[in-house]
């Protein structure tokens, strides 16, 4: 939309109207390239998402050397699979074990590892999760249907800096011999945030 082809439309909400007005003005002033906006949207709507992270996890489950590199230097190991860039420049991978469960939050805003998980879901950015993940992580996980034994240590990671955290969930039992590709199908977005576990094979 440019400054010369406004649609007359009074059914817009105030927010919709404000966004339209800003885009129209910025485009008219030559400050944004509308085609660039379309590519930005297309990238995060259709290309980058939690399937990337699932491939990282499945590789770590099947390749011990890769897992070692991943835990030592998350950014480089994730870059080996081609996932780099904005909001994932400095990655840290946290390994879940039978005795330790990791949970990631950003209490101050919505920091999230875009190259491996895509853009965060609404609940991750909203007040209920951000407020309670640090004070009541077990209650929060229970709302996702995840109840951990009392003897499991819960580690909550508040992403207050530019480090971005990815949880490496435990490999489910009964998956010996499964291909990396089939294993990746078991890795959910929530299992890489810590609000879930990897799926059991069917």
């Amino acid at each position: 939309m440019t400054g010369h082809d406004h649609q007359h439309d009074s059914s817009l909400s105030p927010t919709e109207l404000r966004v339209k007005a800003l885009e129209s003005l910025l485009t008219e002033k030559g400050l944004v390239d509308p085609a660039a906006l379309d590519i930005l949207i297309e990238t995060y709507e259709n290309k980058v998402g939690p399937r990337n992270g699932a491939r990282v996890v499945a590789r770590a489950w099947t390749d011990p050397d890769y897992k070692k590199r991943l835990l030592e230097d998350g950014s480089s190991a994730i870059a080996e699979l081609g996932y780099t860039g904005r909001q994932g420049e400095d990655m840290v991978v946290l390994e879940n074990t039978p005795s330790v469960h990791n949970l990631v939050v950003c209490t101050l805003c919505s920091c999230y590892p875009w190259p491996v998980l895509g853009l965060p879901p609404v609940w991750y950015k909203a007040a209920p999760y951000r407020s309670r993940a640090v004070i009541d992580p077990r209650g929060v996980m229970a709302e996702f249907g995840l109840v951990l034994d009392d003897d499991v240590e819960v580690r909550v990671w508040d992403s207050t800096a530019e480090l971005r955290y990815l949880v490496l969930p435990e490999r489910p039992a009964g998956t010996d011999g499964m291909s990396e590709e089939a294993l990746a199908e078991l890795v959910t977005r929530d299992s890489m945030i810590g609000t879930g576990l990897a799926l059991q094979p069917k």
């Binding site: 390239d33 590519i39 640090v134 077990r138 003897d151 508040d158 992403s159 207050t160 530019e162 480090l163």
Partner: protein, 118 residues
Amino acid sequence: MPVLQADKVTETLRRGGSARVDADVPARFAPGDRVVTRNINPLGHTRLPRYARGRQGVIDRDHGVFIFPDTHANTGDPKPQHCYSVLFTARELWGADASPRDKIYIDLWDDHLDPADG
């Protein structure tokens, strides 16, 4: 900087922009050091959350030297310094009713921390 053009979007996103700084800034703390967070209440931006001010923790790992957002947001000064994962017990942050096992890790910078006594 110029307008972000369509043919530059993918490359720009893939490159990103790390806040890590290649500077030789000495670390004030090492993993295992006991620290106490400062009690600060600035009117501007800070990455030290209210729930973790004036609390004792332990340096878990040193992430290296990063831009310091507390100054970067307010004046543009990057003031590069070490950023650490600092481990707090749930009981230190939330009191005796909290789980005795659970831990909270918060990323904090040198300017948020002082050595804990004893």
